[in-house]
Symmetry: C2
Subunit: 345 residues, 2 copies
């Protein structure tokens, strides 16, 4: 084959992939082709692919609303594609967001990086960076269907001396209103399988990290029954980690959709719905007070607020001194949120 | 009169005051009597008095629910009295909280102090402190009755060299769902009168401070139509400032109750109620992301979470990309939130 033929074949491959996407990628197709071996390109195509997989699976289950697709542009560099399904048959609010942004990190954002243990040498207070990821929160209407969150991201930063730092982060976690052990086991086992293909130490390490990270400190509770969470991964190799991130991201649909389908027709009482609303309030507390992604986003100039805060539920509730009585289903889930369990052994 | 007779008379005076309170003061009556000339004592009696004034006025207007009174104890020192009326006829959630706490400031809390410009010399990382205040948020059901917040507080810190720092802080601000100019004018004028009795520069300075402080930065909006806000006040004199704080705190009822009564029977549509719920969502965003009192509370070990978060509304809502059309009443209030107005000239 001639180089021209090879180029054409590769362009066709990318164009073929794009057909599946919810929208064209953020980066121009020609630029993707030009840099086809760069991790940025691979990651952008992966997050677009995952966004499409998840949106299509959710829309099919919902059978009511479809996803509203917004392309947005970031003045400081890059942009994103937000897909939101609101007030559907099954889902109260489902958001799947892709962002591919670059520019200079703000001082505030850099501080957040630094507090995470990254020592970064900036030039005149500026750090050129690029970040891309897919991030999603799905809030169903039925209190017997849990909320899911996932986020997979890749970061590159150029330091003053020209040195490039890069790392991957991500995770998938489940927030049920009521405890269903089978669901928790299915969810964790699916994640463990995805992890085990790459490194036997990943699942136990990232399971614990997830329980630690998704803690509502002032309540002494986890947000949900956990899953996996990792950040700042930069070894052993970018290729190896990309494969791992790909496995995790591709596990979202098999983790979650079977649980949704199983409870699709579960009946529920107004009391169960009210308890869900209180748990939604806790979800808001975690996201606004502790979540690093949200805080990073709110502190980054030019970030798209509607995409960051699409993680918030459609509705939430706070009651003064609500305390479930012992022996109730409400007390059962609180117990697990206070003392995380091992779901796979 | 003999000293014994004078003591008895003073005890009777305090006991007389206590009859009006929602509960006994946090500090033992004998200790208050012993330290009757201390600012701590004066301030504790003031905040108890204001709590009672406001709760009684609100309960009378509500005519349905009464206030639930909880005394709580802080293991690390002090405690408080939380009064909450939930799901009343008029009020969705009304909380008026007194706290009188002391102990050592945590490192996290000290950092928050320091970022506010106070340079504090600690001994082994510990700073003995005492703080007392009354703090309240009232969320009515009817979208034509605004939400009010107020907080008046006094702080003492003992530095390593034995030097005592003290300061007052506080404010009252209004958050309407829809703009009613007459309400905003009445509210600001009443506050201005309270300020003007003490210093002509107070109202304009603290009005601007309020607009600056209650900013939801990521939205470029104020939380409401403002009021007054001040912090770190320690001159000209403790006595003078106490008088000022007293005037402001005593202005809460005349600021607010006439507005509540005026709109008590206003009818409203489901669309107006939905807009109120979206504004409640913004209230949650401000309180959890920016409010220093909330952040200080959540980071202080042993603080009473239910009392801190009673400021959150009973219900709130987040819709993706909700943007009121031009010329609507919803757009009218947004305009004022983006560009604060002068209400008294």
């Amino acid at each position: 084959r001639t180089p021209a033929e090879r180029d054409q074949r590769e362009l066709n491959e990318i164009l073929q992939k794009c057909k599946h996407f919810m929208s064209d990628p953020v980066t121009d197709i020609n630029k993707l082709l030009e840099n086809k071996d760069d991790m940025r390109t691979k990651m952008e195509l992966l997050v677009m692919d995952v966004q499409a997989d998840v949106c299509k699976a959710l829309a099919e289950v919902d059978g009511g609303q479809t996803f509203k697709v917004d392309r947005w542009h970031r003045k400081e560099g890059g942009g994103g594609i937000s897909c939101v399904l609101q007030d559907g048959k099954v889902f109260e609010k489902a958001g799947v967001n892709v962002s591919v942004v670059f520019g200079n990190l703000s001082e505030e954002a850099t501080k957040q990086m630094r507090s995470r243990g990254k020592s970064l040498k900036s030039k005149d207070g500026k750090l050129p960076f690029c970040a891309m990821g897919v991030s999603s929160v799905i809030h169903p209407k039925n209190p017997h269907i849990p909320t899911i969150h996932f986020n997979y991201r890749y970061f590159e930063i150029e330091e003053a001396d020209g040195h490039k730092s890069w790392w991957f982060g991500g995770g998938t976690d489940l927030t049920p209103t009521y405890l269903n052990k089978d669901d928790a086991i299915h969810f964790h086992k699916t994640l463990k399988e995805a992890c085990d293909k790459h490194d036997q130490s990943y699942y136990p390490t990232f399971k614990k990290w997830c329980d630690d990270y998704f803690t509502i400190k002032h309540r002494g509770e986890r947000r949900g029954v956990g899953g996996i969470f990792f950040d700042d991964l930069d070894s052993p190799s970018a290729e190896g980690l990309f494969g791992f991130v790909q496995s995790c991201a591709k596990a979202v649909v098999p983790c979650y959709i079977p649980i949704v389908k199983k409870h699709l027709h579960d009946s529920y009482t107004p009391e169960e719905k009210a308890w869900q609303q209180l748990r939604r309030g806790r979800y808001v507390e975690f996201n606004l007070v502790y979540d690093r992604g949200t805080k990073f986003g709110l502190a980054t100039p030019g970030s798209r607020i509607e995409s960051i805060l699409m993680s918030l539920p459609l509705t939430a509730r706070w009651e003064y001194m609500h305390d479930p009585a012992k022996g109730t289903k409400e007390a059962e889930i609180i117990e697990v949120l206070k003392n995380p369990k091992d779901w796979v052994h």
